[in-house]
């Protein structure tokens, strides 16, 4: 399978076979992570972050440098040419002369696609607008695959803000490539968007709930996302519901022994610190899997694997 030169813009552009290939490659990278391998020596990544995201940037930088590549770019639009009014199209056509691959994060929807159309080198979407964050979805899949041995056949719950979270949208599309039961748990105001549900409904068995206790005993995987106060027009409503979507040890009492709890991080209080010491807590390991998945993606797109 050839992924060399491919843009990674949306999870929707990938077939099941391609995703499986990416997960298998990540598995190989996992085994050689400690070795001093430099398959991307002499290659450069252009990192264009038009909105700040320290975690995502660190993960991509670490992935590139661990494989011997270099990184150039910016992560503060305030100090870049963007402030002077340069378009994304022009920025891309400038920076591509210095790099072999571009990694872009931008607040507007469709921006990564635009960048890919203007660039002659591969583009990786590191988050565009409210909808897409494909590398997060790949790392979420890899986490499940690695921990459970397979994605097929699992009962997977996603909890929290399913309406505005871009992680949730990309993950839902990614899971629709597999044979899973999806349990969506959210306050009624934050249910998943109609178009996302429509797009996956034919391929996934989806059930929507508003109480986590109703589904907890069924789950193999629980993916927790943050509910932000700003999403509620009535602050009183937020105060009333927030406790019901918080995971603590008590909430996990009825969970399966081998349930894994995931979170895209950063968390605030939606997973209580007391959960960290339980065998369910997977979210810090997920960061490591993120590094591995991004190494695999960079290696594949740049033709090193």
């Amino acid at each position: 399978m050839e992924l060399k030169g491919r843009d990674i813009i949306s999870i929707k552009d990938f077939t099941r076979e391609e995703v499986d290939h990416i997960l298998k490659t990540a598995g190989k990278v996992d085994h050689i992570l400690g070795e001093n391998l430099r398959p991307l020596s002499g290659k450069f990544m252009g990192l264009l972050f038009f909105e700040p995201s320290t975690r995502t940037r660190l993960s991509f930088e670490a992935a590139m440098k661990r494989m011997g590549g270099g990184v150039i770019g910016f992560s503060e639009p305030a100090v870049s040419s963007v402030k002077k009014g340069e378009t994304l199209a022009d920025t891309v056509r400038t920076v591509e002369n210095y790099a072999d691959i571009l990694v872009i994060r931008h607040p507007l929807e469709g921006s990564a696609k635009l960048a890919a159309d203007f660039a002659s080198i591969p583009v990786i979407n590191a988050g565009s607008g409210a909808e897409e964050h494909p590398t997060q979805a790949f790392l979420d899949l890899y986490t499940i695959f690695k921990e459970k041995g397979s994605v097929d056949g699992l009962n997977i719950g996603i909890l929290g803000d399913l309406r505005y979270g871009r992680t949730v949208h990309s993950l839902t599309y990614a899971l629709s490539l597999y044979d899973v039961n999806l349990y969506l748990v959210s306050p009624p105001e934050l249910r998943i968007r109609k178009e996302v549900l429509q797009a996956v409904r034919n391929r996934l068995r989806v059930k929507e709930f508003s109480r986590i206790e109703d589904v907890m005993p069924e789950l193999d995987v629980l993916y927790v996302t943050r509910i932000q106060r700003e999403r509620f027009p009535d602050p009183g409503e937020y105060e009333r519901i927030k406790g019901a979507y918080r995971i603590d040890k008590a909430a996990l009492e009825k969970a399966k022994e081998d349930l894994i709890v995931m979170h895209p991080l950063p968390r605030v209080d939606e997973i209580q610190p007391e959960v960290d010491e339980t065998k369910h807590a997977l979210y810090f390991k997920q960061v490591r899997y993120g590094l591995i998945t991004r190494m695999a993606l960079l290696g594949l797109v740049l033709g090193a694997f």
Partner: protein
């Protein structure tokens, strides 16, 4: 007096055109959108007849547009299908129907519509215009190539 006005309106309705185009079976109430798609303002000087909400065997109610001395490009015929999927196009030469065709939506819509998503990159100063993929199932749905948002017929009509 009554009979005179009846005759006048009847004459206006049935006035035939020599050369041009008759667009029939337009969904009731959307003829103005069809004229805007064709870029017809009425200031071009040629004769344009417009019938709205007349009864139709096929549609219950329908609109109809007759344009003297103007033929439609293939792109225009396709674009009409976005707002009037049942429309038929009659090409008239020398008072006779030379050709009759049904409209069929294009695969891609360019240079016609704006993306309704304010956060879409096509609504920023970037050097791109909105392009939509057309999906036909129950009705016509457009998907923005850049941001992926869906537009139904109602959303399309808002722009005309």
């Amino acid at each position: 007096m009554e009979s005179v006005s009846a005759v006048v309106s009847e004459e206006l309705r049935v006035e035939k055109i020599r050369d041009g185009t008759v667009i029939d079976h337009i969904d009731a109430g959307t003829a103005l959108a069809v004229l805007r798609i064709l870029g017809i303002t009425g200031r071009e000087g040629y004769v344009v007849s417009l019938l709205m909400n007349v009864s139709s065997k096929k549609l219950g109610k329908k609109d109809m547009v007759k344009v003297e001395g103007r033929e439609l490009s293939p792109t225009e015929v396709q674009e009409i299908a976005l707002v009037a999927p049942n429309a038929t196009i009659n090409i008239i030469r020398n008072f006779k129907v030379l050709r009759k065709e049904r409209v069929k939506p294009p695969d891609l819509v360019k240079d016609l519509l704006k993306c309704p998503n304010p956060a879409c990159v096509t609504n920023s100063p970037e050097p791109v215009k909105a392009v939509f993929h057309v999906e036909v199932s129950d009705g016509v749905t457009l998907r923005c190539y850049h941001c992926g948002i869906l537009m139904e017929k109602e959303d399309i009509l808002k722009q005309f």
